[in-house]
Assembly symmetry: C2
Homo-oligomer: 457 residues x 2
């Protein structure tokens, strides 16, 4: 009998890799934060003696979800402004709110609010793009979640840096002061083609090479971006960044709602990755990313929620479901992006995009124990013909019962082991009061009060 720390005994195990199949009545053995075995329960009890045995009789156990594009501190701006033209939304609400509020303290609260939300919904790793990434890294470590943090580069001045040179200085400082915590990885984040100069894009490439880290970039989010890029540079932004030599297996194209067949071929040829954010693309009316075509070219596609200001949640189960449904309608083919396929996109494909698929993304021997359990016993997910179908098409994220990251049990039967959500609510409220003047409903609420007074007097 071999001693292990944890033995998860599950009705269904979905390892994602090496084979994406449902294993019935299987167990996952965990030692020192790593998966050391996946095997039938009968064999597990014969081979392993567990310090802790967890019975998951009506649950699926699978790798944690990877949110491949987030702006976690923006959870403070959830629902601040909706139903607006993109430039109205940015110029009159989001950017003024960021200018007034974003600092080390607000980023800490916003990140923690987002991390709580993601953990509750089965997200064990996120790929962030925001200011003060060092603060978000610290909060991620405190809460025990895995994260890839981005060092932002752009020409727009913020509290974090005032110009491109300033952003590079911050990036270098951040990368040179890495804590070395195994939960944390780094990327460089040129914001978007329209906010970063050619010169800086070349420096981004050099920084990525120097530190051997991925590049995480918004790309062709809107037709407006493409039109203005052509006007300014005489070519499509995708082509411009390609010409500057940035694409490689270390490059993530986020959004790509508009791509020519030739551009899709370039992504395939360069081995770069696509991060699909369907909910944000719909809400901002950015367009429909041609995901079925992209997948058919063998390109690695991951899924991200984008920030809570444009989603308005960080629900990866909702996001992967929409990714599947939308790809079917856009391609006109209901067999596209099957349940099996989108679950890969939300796990192992995210790990590949981040360059950490040797560590996470599947339940394979030797990988970190980033694992979630989903309880299918509710009448809301009965009957169960095939657990994969329910995971893709009808699970509610609140059915995630347990979350382990690197073997640490962070969510236990739907409750946080440590995270204080009541305190978090109070802190969020503090910052929301300051953001309220930038809300699109601020004036409406005022007039409502007057109306309701008038109605009832």
């Amino acid at each position: 009998m071999k001693q292990v720390d944890i033995l998860l005994m599950a009705r269904w195990v979905l390892p994602i890799a090496p084979q994406n199949i449902v294993l019935e009545d299987h167990a996952v053995a965990i030692l020192d934060g790593r998966i050391i075995d996946v095997l039938p329960q009968s064999k597990a009890t014969a081979q392993y003696e567990a310090a802790k045995l967890v019975e998951l009789k009506e649950h699926v156990v699978m790798p944690g979800l990877i949110n491949a594009h987030a702006h976690t501190p923006m959870n403070l701006f959830r629902g601040l402004a909706d139903d607006l033209e993109l430039m109205d939304w940015l110029n009159n609400h989001i950017w003024p709110a960021e200018k007034a509020l974003i600092n080390e303290k607000s980023v800490e609260v916003g990140s923690r609010l987002a991390i709580a939300e993601m953990l509750r919904g089965g997200v064990t790793c996120f790929n962030d793009n925001y200011f003060f990434p060092d603060v978000t890294a610290r909060v991620a470590i405190e809460e025990g979640i895995r994260a890839s943090l981005g060092c932002v580069v752009m020409s727009v001045p913020t509290e974090w840096a005032s110009d491109e040179a300033g952003y590079f200085a911050k990036a270098r400082q951040t990368l040179e002061n890495q804590s070395g915590n195994p939960l944390i990885n780094w990327t460089v984040c040129p914001h978007a083609p329209y906010t970063v100069s050619d010169d800086s894009l070349k420096k981004v490439k050099a920084l990525s090479d120097e530190f051997n880290i991925p590049i995480h970039m918004h790309m062709h989010e809107t037709q407006f971006e493409i039109d203005s890029g052509i006007e300014q540079y005489g070519k499509r932004p995708f082509q411009r960044v390609y010409d500057l030599g940035l694409y490689s297996p270390r490059f993530m194209h986020v959004h790509v709602t508009q791509l020519t067949d030739q551009e899709i071929q370039i992504i395939a040829d360069t081995g770069s990755h696509v991060v699909h954010c369907p909910e944000s693309n719909l809400k901002l009316a950015s367009g429909f990313a041609p995901i079925a075509k992209i997948v058919d070219k063998g390109i690695n596609v991951a899924i991200g929620t984008d920030g809570a200001a444009s989603n308005n949640d960080l629900d990866m189960f909702g996001e992967l479901r929409l990714a599947s449904l939308l790809a079917k309608a856009v391609s006109g083919n209901p067999t596209t992006l099957s349940a099996t396929k989108v679950l890969e996109m939300a796990t192992i494909n995210g790990a590949k995009a981040l360059g950490i698929d040797h560590e996470v993304g599947s339940l394979e021997k030797g990988k970190a124990a980033d694992i979630i359990a989903i309880d299918l016993s509710s009448y809301l997910t009965q009957p169960v013909y095939n657990p994969i179908s329910h995971l893709a098409y009808c699970v509610n994220r609140l059915q995630v019962s347990d979350v382990w990251i690197a073997g640490k049990h962070l969510l236990v039967q739907g409750r946080f082991a440590h995270l204080d959500t009541q305190r978090l609510r109070e802190q969020a409220h503090y910052w929301a009061e300051k953001a309220q003047p930038f809300s699109s409903s601020a004036s409406k609420m005022k007039s409502n009060e007057e109306t309701s007074m008038a109605q009832t007097n």
Copy 2:
């Protein structure tokens, strides 16, 4: 002091009509199952003495959601078959399963499973289209939910009737034996243009006139339906049904993923209604209904989930959110179908489509007390700048805390007052075992077992 049965004291009240605005710190007074007042809390406590006072300090109180297109007994087939071409899905899975399983007993269980799911998620009324509607009506009455039940007419033989004449006989029998329960209304449901003859469509119109009930019909769900309709009848199905004189304010067009501008004008001119089912349309790759254009013509648009076999849940909060997001992307306009607008579509517009807006759909004096409370206190919906935004874009249906229908308190702080979900699970399991052979995963699961055996031996 006037005596009332219930006084709901809510942080926010969203009455939907007469004005769709947020009333802060308001109360709803209920007497004999009806709303008798909506007023500020301070006045409510001065004017009314309540047998029961309900404090909802971090909640929105609003009218219950109306699911304007459902096939409730199909909850038994949730996840039975996915990711298939429509005709493969129907011919090889859904229809054989229906032929083998659908009878009075399975319809009772499937309906109850769907009703439990809908009540839990804030749906207080549904518009059904399925066989054995008399059974579903009985279950709806038992569980206390409001429903419009459809008398199906089609040429496809089922356990319910063997030919069109048989369906009409059943319809007449059902309509003449109405229990008169105020929760139940009736419609006539010609299945779709491709399954109902011209002669029967004329009889449908006569039946609708005779009993003064709405007509509820699938219309232009797919391009295939239109192409085959043109081939068989020499005209588009929409035009054919129009020529037969069926459209009026008592007609509901369900789906309409394909409509010419002229057809949209006909819907407007005839005062007929559209029921939009975005999730089902995406999953079956049916197409994108041009909802923004339809709304711009002043047409009344309601929202439905369709059946659990093609959705795969009956989550109206998810459905109304997708309706808004999708309309923005399809129209290229992020201001389309605002949060305010989609909440109307899911409440008062559903009531209008069903011809019961004098009874339900808003919190107005004299209407039935079909009311839901949504708890926004969770960190998942913090901060709150504008409750309307959260209801449309980030509420999880499990945040519905309380449901009243005709003043009866059916869901109390997230728990059913009476409904036995454990028994329901067992009953669903009984029928699922019989349906398992028709599952698209039946063969896959078998091969998985062999594979996993092979892996672990």
